[in-house]
Symmetry: C2
Subunit: 157 residues, 2 copies
DNA sequence: GTCGATAATCTCGATCGTCGAGATGTTACT
DNA sequence: AGTAACATCTCGACGATCGAGATTATCGAC
């Protein structure tokens, strides 16, 4: 039975990868619908997340978040600004900085797409008890910790 | 308490996204280490998965798997063949087809990187009971189903 | 205040991945 | 044989990204 148990755990790892693929496909679909590429979407998500935390992302910070050089960030922001998804806003306090604000239209589009997914996910969790969801949460946190270590190159065991 | 329950479920959705980001980072790291781009990695994974199922992927099938046109597939396979990760093998039965076989070196590199992750993930599941993992599996399958629907544009409710 | 150091952003030229259109070689059907 | 369907490859163009260097703004020392 130890074999069965190990196999069950491996299957969960595969399930996780399958989920990852599908989740990427959701992002790809959003990109296609709005004529954006993958980097643009990641940038919008980063700006959106920052906005949710009450911060206005600067161009430099955005570059760190999506791992692009300054030249590429300029081009990226140019693209997003041209189609009206973000605005450049000079920081009056430190006039070197350029803040990025999402337009209401972009915010609404993002909320419709990803918010709709979040809504359906929550709905699909209706049938679970609080105790079961606690188990899931603990498992997700454990797996994320392991994956995060690997993504930074700190192999384990 | 209904508020708390709803928030807990939303947090799980966010955890899932966080996990997705970290998992993508693992793939990115593998790409960096081997001088590949994201598409190349996706292609190698697709070939590897097919090999695991005992099938030899053709160039055309690979194009469908990674969603590229034939011209891009040719360039992709050229890149992978140049660095010795795959071989082109004409199908003797249907000589229009070009089969793709991974080199042992590439197979080993992939196994070391992603197999190591799988190993650590399984190890991190040691502390869970079979019953708990059943809950996790059910949850993962439910979430994947919802996400897959969204990735194909079939919105729900 | 003015000068050098620092920081954030932008411009320019080059490289590389992807695509569309069309060419080439292969198989299946009649 | 002749033709349609198929799989892959070649070619030219476009666009995203990068590295190096220029530009503009700020801060601290004197």
């Amino acid at each position: 039975m130890a074999d069965n148990a190990a196999r069950a755990r491996q299957e969960l790892a595969l399930l996780l990868r399958r989920l990852n693929v599908e989740l990427d496909a959701v992002g790809q679909r959003f990109a296609d619908r709005h004529g954006l590429n993958r980097t643009d979407v990641r940038a919008l998500v980063a700006i959106m997340d920052a906005a949710r935390r009450g911060e206005a992302l600067t161009a430099g910070r955005l570059g760190e978040a999506v791992d692009l050089r300054s030249a590429s960030v300029t081009a990226l922001v140019d693209r997003l600004e041209k189609v009206g998804h973000v605005r450049r806003v000079r920081d009056p306090g430190d006039r070197r900085r350029v803040g990025l604000e999402m337009s209401d239209a972009a915010m609404a589009a993002g909320a419709e797409h990803f918010g709709g997914l979040a809504h359906d996910l929550v709905a699909a969790m209706e049938g679970y008890t609080d105790g079961e969801l606690d188990v899931v949460r603990r498992w997700l946190e454990d797996m994320t910790a392991v994956i995060a270590r690997h993504s930074r190159g700190e192999a384990e065991s």
